[in-house]
Symmetry: C2
Subunit: 342 residues, 2 copies
Amino acid sequence: MSDSAVAGPTADVPRPGLPVAVDAMGGDHAPDAIVEGARRAAAELGVPVVLVGRPDVLASIRGDLDVIEASQVIAMDDDPGASVRTMKDSSLVRAAEAVRDGKASAMVSAGNTGATMASALLRMGRIKGVARPAIATPIPVPGSTPTVLLDAGANAECQPAWLVQFAQMGAVFARERYGIDEPRVGLLSIGEEPTKGNDLVKATHALLAEPGALGRSGARFLGNVEGRDLMTADVDVVVTDGFTGNVALKTLEGGMRALVRSVVDALGATSVADEAIEALMPLYGALDPDTTGGAMLLGVDGVCIISHGSSSATAIVNAVRVAADMVAAGVVDRLRAAVGTG
Amino acid sequence: MSDSAVAGPTADVPRPGLPVAVDAMGGDHAPDAIVEGARRAAAELGVPVVLVGRPDVLASIRGDLDVIEASQVIAMDDDPGASVRTMKDSSLVRAAEAVRDGKASAMVSAGNTGATMASALLRMGRIKGVARPAIATPIPVPGSTPTVLLDAGANAECQPAWLVQFAQMGAVFARERYGIDEPRVGLLSIGEEPTKGNDLVKATHALLAEPGALGRSGARFLGNVEGRDLMTADVDVVVTDGFTGNVALKTLEGGMRALVRSVVDALGATSVADEAIEALMPLYGALDPDTTGGAMLLGVDGVCIISHGSSSATAIVNAVRVAADMVAAGVVDRLRAAVGTG
């Protein structure tokens, strides 16, 4: 199956049957955990997968998976722009090219986030009409579907019109990913009133409040929401600039980690430690970033899934699943219809 | 004691023995919980306290405490600027005037945060040389001193030079409040490298990295930190604009609330619920905003403690304690020395 896929057409539209390209070299636990996840995804999900990376490294661990060769590896802390420009034979650039060239249906990487964005943007290009791609990250909500936060870090400086597009794209993603018919969109601010917030938020609020601002995306604008709403079922999509979004995301990650560690420490010292911690496992599982399937870069002309740098094999299985689901849902075409000017 | 205090001098410098003015009308649980807290503070801490509010409301609950009369109440959702301008006989404005006029050593309010800031700023004025006051909020860190986050919401739009002053003021606060000799100051960003962040952060980083930028405050600049560092012992003071700071603070509050509720639900369904939840009580106590003693508005010419809107009586006891401690430490003079141009 992957043979025919690699030899497939160069048309822009991915076909069912094309493999998901997994950057085997990116991530804190690459290549072993990444390759293990890719192999499990192929076996357990029946999704065709192709690895991208150094053949010498992958030869002994690739199993039945095909390899798209790439001799270079962009490190986690390399400068994104410079590395993508100069390392044209890197696994990230080659993965993005595979999608562009119709050799893969989607790309998945747990590597350098900035370089992943840059590779996808430079090789796949933007959807026509999209000003800036944005990272959409699912925030787990106990007992409910996740809240989609975007932009979670692609654009540190934003303009109001970009945030309107983020709202439209986030709504499409929430519908295709979580089956929410009429996603409720909130604008992240520091008070519910339209007058609250910084200049960017106030200008964006005015645009989003115009009738039809979200029309083609099928979403509903709730107005401003606050940081405390992120982990509730009160909103489906939260829109913000990439600086604020990234701070919120990492603040939440750090807070969860500190609290979970403290809870385990406190329970571990009791006589009921085993049963108590056992009872909390489903909650930890629900909050574990490895289970969310990763973030998606919305607005590029292809499916690009950005997994957490700390991704385990299970995280890669889930990321491949999401990538295949988003391809099957035709999410890029749906984004084009919701946002594009053409 | 409070008689002589209310009749005290009009000099700017608070004297020991002056009472702490507690806004009896502000907060979700005002006036009952606020007055109960004020009475407990006077009894348990030996700190003189004066209530500010409507005499008719307070007559039956004030106990031995004196009352500074104020006929108006600014509601939690009133517009801060307009309400402070038009409600000159409100408890908030009168509390700030009591500090200005040397009738109180400090003010404490759990009411409308914006109106508290506006009252303090308009009545007490700024410390000479301070561009903008900032809200310094302690973020609890399990097993360590809290991290001081500022600005937590006073200034939605900031300039780089203001953030440098926030760093200086936050360092003074961390030293006087938590006994940290050489506070480590981090700039909140979305990556550790000086090139990461939005335009404000990059410009501020350049200023803070100059030799002597924090000199008079005795602090040390660590460089950029991320949201995940807030609840760790790796940094003492985190500086950011008031929009980002408020989003981070509320995101953390919401996340903690969601997780604590989920933990209690999961444990509550087990046979070891009582013992497990009992073991977690000290942790919940450490994370409870009521125990932190509230935030402090740094940069106004007087001590102003901003308590959470949901403050219980215990929260007010802790806020009065912090107010008295900050007065005793001469924190306003120390801020003046660290920041002021004079």
